[in-house]
């Protein structure tokens, strides 16, 4: 495989908060057009891992090679890199003073330097890709449902034409019906070969949209493989226990 087929290569990534190691040497790759899903217990550092990839959090060590550039090296303009890495947050993090349309436009105008017209065209296209209702285009985040807000957030990331989009538990703050509309959009993006790295507890999404599933446990990638392998026939005890707990939760608890 040539380097240009791999959008992201992570080697031996480490991060500790004070005395507590959170990432103990993470290594994996994301190929262009691939959907990779990371599952694992809450509070274990999955969000930290995603935030290290665009350096919202500075990792302590290791390599992050994005499109052939090690972004942890000195002299890298991290803002240029971030503009090419989409990020979708658990709590949407829309700009509250901007309408749905303006939320998508602002990155294009401020960071990409587009004219208002050009940004508007691109933003409308992105909002249509996430099936945002036309009457919601000019509404403020507080006037939108959680599902709509998260779709706007996805459109905001998409409009920047990123090489990869990182999703940090994008449906955890939504009730099941609204989660469904967000997952539908993400499935469509997977079909369109948008490169995605998704941290989620949605096993269904992992099964039918992921090319590969990583089980993150105790600061490392504990196990990885095809979705059916990991989700139906995990080799390791910790993976089985985690999946059992998730299954118990989804039917109303043990």
């Amino acid at each position: 495989m040539s380097d240009s087929d791999r959008v992201l290569i992570i080697r031996n990534l480490t991060k500790r908060f004070g005395e507590k190691p959170v990432l103990k040497g993470i290594s994996f790759e994301v190929e262009r057009g691939e959907t990779k899903v990371i599952i694992g217990p809450s509070g274990a550092g999955k969000s930290t891992l995603l935030r290290c990839i665009n350096r919202l959090i500075e990792p302590d060590g290791g390599e992050i090679i994005f499109n052939g550039t090690n972004i942890l090296e000195r002299g890298v303009d991290i803002r240029k890199i971030r503009a090419k890495i989409g990020f979708v947050f658990q709590h949407f993090n829309l700009f509250k003073h901007l309408t749905a349309l303006e939320n998508v436009k602002i990155g294009l105008k401020v960071v990409r330097g587009m004219s208002d017209e050009e940004a508007e065209k691109k933003a409308i296209k992105a909002l249509r890709m996430v099936h945002l209702e036309e009457d919601a285009f000019h509404k403020y985040p507080a006037q939108l449902s959680g599902g709509q807000q998260q779709r706007v957030a996805i459109a905001r990331a998409l409009a920047m034409e990123p090489e990869i989009i990182l999703f940090d538990e994008p449906t955890s703050a939504l009730d099941p019906q609204l989660a469904g509309e967000v997952l539908d959009v993400m499935r469509e993006l997977a079909k369109k070969k948008v490169t995605m790295l998704v941290v989620t507890h949605e096993i269904g999404f992992a099964l039918n949209a992921a090319d590969e599933v990583l089980f993150f446990y105790d600061g490392v990638i504990w196990e990885k493989g095809k979705p059916e392998e990991i989700l139906y026939n995990p080799k390791r005890k910790e993976t089985r226990e985690f999946l059992k707990r998730i299954a118990d939760l989804s039917v109303g608890g043990p």
Binding site: L56, N93, H97, V110
Partner: protein, 225 residues
Amino acid sequence: MVWETIARYLLHGLVVTLELTIVGFIGGFAFGFLLAVARTYGGRLSRALSATYIELIRGTPMLLQLYIIGFGLPLVIRDHFPNFVMDPTVAAALGMVINSAAYQAEYIRGAFNSIEYGQVEAALSLGMTKWEIIRHVIFPQAFRIMLPSWTNEMVYLLKYSSLAMLLAVPELMYEASVAASQTFLYAQIYLVVAGIYLVFATLIIGIMRKVELKLHIPGVTTIKR
């Protein structure tokens, strides 16, 4: 006509009072904004300097600050530049800017801090710089959140500009006292002056209320009916 003369005094005083209020407010905002940015987003040194300044000003009486600037400072400067004179109105305006900046800095900082970090993370992820984030994300929201405290600050400045009379600045209270001592119409004149302050304070509150309504964005500000 005695009231014609009184009116001339009061009108002149009113103009000076409004000038002091406006200069204090605008200058205080400009300086206060920098203080707030330094205290919220600055490095260790600028945070410490800004915090020290703010607490120093908020912890001492405004009248004392006016005395230091109006009476103390010119003497010190005159040691080096014997011809230096400072107009008392300029001294008072300077004092009000210096004082208001500390309070406005705290209002602005409070508004900055009320914007959740998630939005900053989102803006960083788009590739924005610190200043782009302050300008396009933080400030437009902070500005709206701050409006009610701004109204308070304007009304305070309007009223506390009367302290400038103690530097012999010909503002409303000063002119009123001159007119009163010449006509002995103390009660009448001071009642009229009270009315003038009240009218302008009410005007400020009314206009700011309109501005709040006009700039209201659901989810950013709340409007009480």
